[in-house]
């Protein structure tokens, strides 16, 4: 069900996230927001994503924090168990590596360890991905590092409306959610007209970003746009590509993927983080396990280079997955 859009201004990815936070705070007093520089005195975040929130909801519910990622995620864990709906911001997902204990040893497990007595409905928002020369320590995507952890949900939207709808769902979800926002989507990602009351997107449900019949590309986050560009490029040669935007990485929408794969029999999995031991391994394996005898050829995986992210612009772009990497894989898949 799509709500009729009445606004005419086009919303950026930032707008989608900002409005989701705003609407969530307006509708539920349990929603609180904290992270480095997120209050308005500090500019509403380095990308102004939280701008206006502390002015509107007060500095008790919207707080800038010290540079203390363990304290940030830990505070979210405790507050969530106590009854709040914390949305903690970790500036870049690379810094989750100092707070991984709170997320993976605690947030993900406390419900289970308590035998279901307590729940941990927190959301950790964080920026991921390579763009514009931030170098090796600021550009990773920690998707597979956390997907393996039982008890976490991982969400990675590609569009403003999905950012809105998925973030609302994360905040309303009873479980800990990691919300990955690709940096590139903040700079030049597509804009969309958002409805007055944009719809929520359920977790765990993929979106057919482009329907097609010949090859399925399974992807998520920023790479969705590269996949769409690749689909467009091969369309000229009569190759009709279906692009599935997973939106939720864990738990992912197996049903939608398997249905599409059964139809097209040719599948490419594409994501920005490296292929080895990446998310694609799970998707590829599940497709083989379920559809082995029906496939025209093996599921192909493409990603960025399995190296740290280099600084120099020429190297960064050589490192990164892009439309042409995906196009090559699509063409290879059609040969099978």
């Amino acid at each position: 069900m799509t709500t009729t859009a009445t606004r005419t201004t086009r919303a950026s990815f930032r707008d989608g996230v900002n409005r989701a936070l705003d609407d969530a705070m307006a509708s539920d007093r349990r929603v609180i927001v904290f992270g480095e520089d997120v209050a308005d005195r500090e500019g509403g975040g380095v990308l102004t994503v939280t701008k206006g929130l502390s002015e509107k909801y007060g500095t008790s519910r919207v707080r800038s924090t010290p540079i203390s990622e363990q304290a940030i995620v830990g505070a979210a864990v405790g507050a969530a168990i106590a009854g709040a709906r914390p949305v903690a911001e970790i500036m870049l997902n690379n810094f989750l590596r100092v707070a991984a204990d709170q997320l993976a040893n605690h947030a993900a497990k406390l419900r289970y360890m308590s035998g279901g007595q307590t729940t941990v409905p927190l959301t950790v928002r964080t920026i991921c991905g390579a763009a514009g020369g931030f170098g090796a320590q600021h550009s990773d995507i920690l998707d597979s590092e956390f997907a393996h952890v039982a008890g976490l949900k991982i969400v990675a939207p590609a569009t403003p409306s999905d950012a809105y709808g998925l973030l609302r769902s994360c905040i309303e979800d009873e479980d800990p959610c990691l919300f990955l926002e690709h940096l590139k989507l903040y700079f030049g990602g597509p804009k969309e007209v958002l409805a007055d009351v944009p719809e929520r997107i359920p977790l765990g449900s993929a979106r057919i970003a482009r329907a097609g019949t010949d090859v399925t590309v399974v992807t998520y986050s920023q790479t969705v746009h590269d996949a769409l560009a690749a689909a467009k490029a091969v369309a000229a040669d009569g190759i009709d590509v279906e692009v599935i935007d997973l939106r939720t990485i864990a738990p992912w929408d197996e049903q939608t993927v398997l249905e599409s794969a059964a139809r097209t029999r040719r599948i490419v999995v594409a994501h920005e983080s490296a292929v080895p031991f990446g998310i694609g391994g799970e998707i590829s394996s599940r497709i083989h396990e379920e559809l082995f005898s029906q496939l025209a050829g093996p599921v192909l995986r493409v990603g960025s280079a399995h190296t740290p992210v280099p600084f120099a612009a020429a190297l960064e772009s050589a490192y990164l997955i892009n439309a042409s990497t995906i196009e090559t894989a699509i063409r290879k898949a059609t040969k099978a």
Partner: protein, 328 residues
């Protein structure tokens, strides 16, 4: 009833301490006999810390503790039977046997989190206090940790954040002078852990952790400060650990004389003597109390041993509270 007006007699404190000691003794006996196999971290020697702190807390106040948490669990009011069952991994345990001794949770008594990761409880305790502060529910959160934990990053981040936000939280360092096999001075750059409070503009107090009344008084002050919105306190309660780091640790790294001196300060006989000398308790009364406690613990142990382990289906429950649409 706010803690400040709660009247807990010295005899009540002794009852709690004796319950802790008795549980510990009975676990120990069961393990020694091989009837029970457990990764067990004894709180023997530290009874007065938990007891004194919890005497200053209301039942609705929160407590976050560690793997060495039995004393805290009992002092905060986790029911004996549920606790025993959880320690032995039974379906009737606080956490259906899924958490175990290192992960006791019992929200009804305010025992919110027991963590097995050193130092990780402190940031979480802040979260409880944060929500109390925003919510205005007047609750205070206490958080137990060891001397060794005061050297880990999470301690630093948590105390700083609590101070900056003036959170209603009390950080309770159970300084038993050892972190596993490492003596305090070998791992810690400071002699008095309470002094570390100064790094955060926080009040820090050191108390005799073998004196439950002294601990209670320090805690009551900290609770009052927290409830008044004046922020967190670091309490260092100096005590000792009589049974090594964990069951099976022979404790060879502890000097005999050091151990003997520590035994002189055993909080249980000490309080018992004071009850008789200062508080007018009679030997009979105390013996009766002890017998009663022993009987209750024996019963809890018996019941726990008789209850079944959780059914195998429980393996897959409680991972998520809500299952997402297309989830596997």
């Amino acid at each position: 009833m706010p803690a400040s007006t709660k009247i807990i007699s010295a005899v009540d404190l002794y009852r709690t301490m004796y319950t802790i000691k008795e549980c510990d003794d009975q676990f120990w006996t069961l393990m020694q006999s091989g009837q029970v196999v457990l990764n067990y971290y004894s709180p023997r020697g530290q009874e007065a810390v938990a007891t004194g702190i919890c005497a200053a807390l209301d039942s609705t106040d929160y407590l976050v503790t560690t793997y060495r948490g039995l004393h805290d669990h009992l002092a905060k009011g986790v029911p004996l039977s549920d606790l025993w069952a959880e320690f032995l991994g039974r379906a009737t345990g606080t956490c259906k046997g899924k958490g175990g001794p290192m992960h006791i949770t019992h929200p009804d008594s305010g025992l919110m989190v027991t963590t097995g990761v050193v130092g990780s409880g402190l940031p979480i305790a802040n979260g409880f206090a944060l929500w109390s502060q925003i919510n205005g529910d007047g609750r205070v959160t206490a958080c137990s940790f060891g001397d060794g934990a005061s050297n880990i990053g999470a301690f630093h981040e948590a105390l700083n954040l609590a101070s900056v936000w003036k959170l209603p939280v009390i950080f309770v360092c159970h300084n038993n002078l050892y972190a596993e096999h490492t003596a305090l001075a070998a791992g810690t750059g400071v002699t008095r852990i309470a002094d570390r409070a100064a790094s955060y503009g926080m009040v820090g107090v050191q108390v005799d952790g073998n004196d439950p009344l002294a601990v209670r008084d320090a805690a009551a002050e900290a609770v009052a400060r927290a409830r008044a919105g004046e922020g967190p306190t670091l309490i260092e309660a100096v005590t000792f650990r009589f049974r090594g780091h964990q069951f099976g640790d022979p404790g060879e790294y502890i000097d005999k004389a050091e151990m003997a001196a520590a035994r002189e300060r055993d909080p249980l006989p000490r309080l018992r003597a004071r009850l008789l000398d200062e508080f007018g308790a009679s030997p009979d009364e105390l013996t009766a109390l002890e017998d009663e406690v022993r009987a209750a613990v024996t019963q809890a142990a018996k019941d726990a041993l008789a209850t079944p382990e959780p059914s195998v289906e429980e393996l897959f429950t409680d991972v998520f509270a809500t299952t997402a649409g297309g989830a596997a």
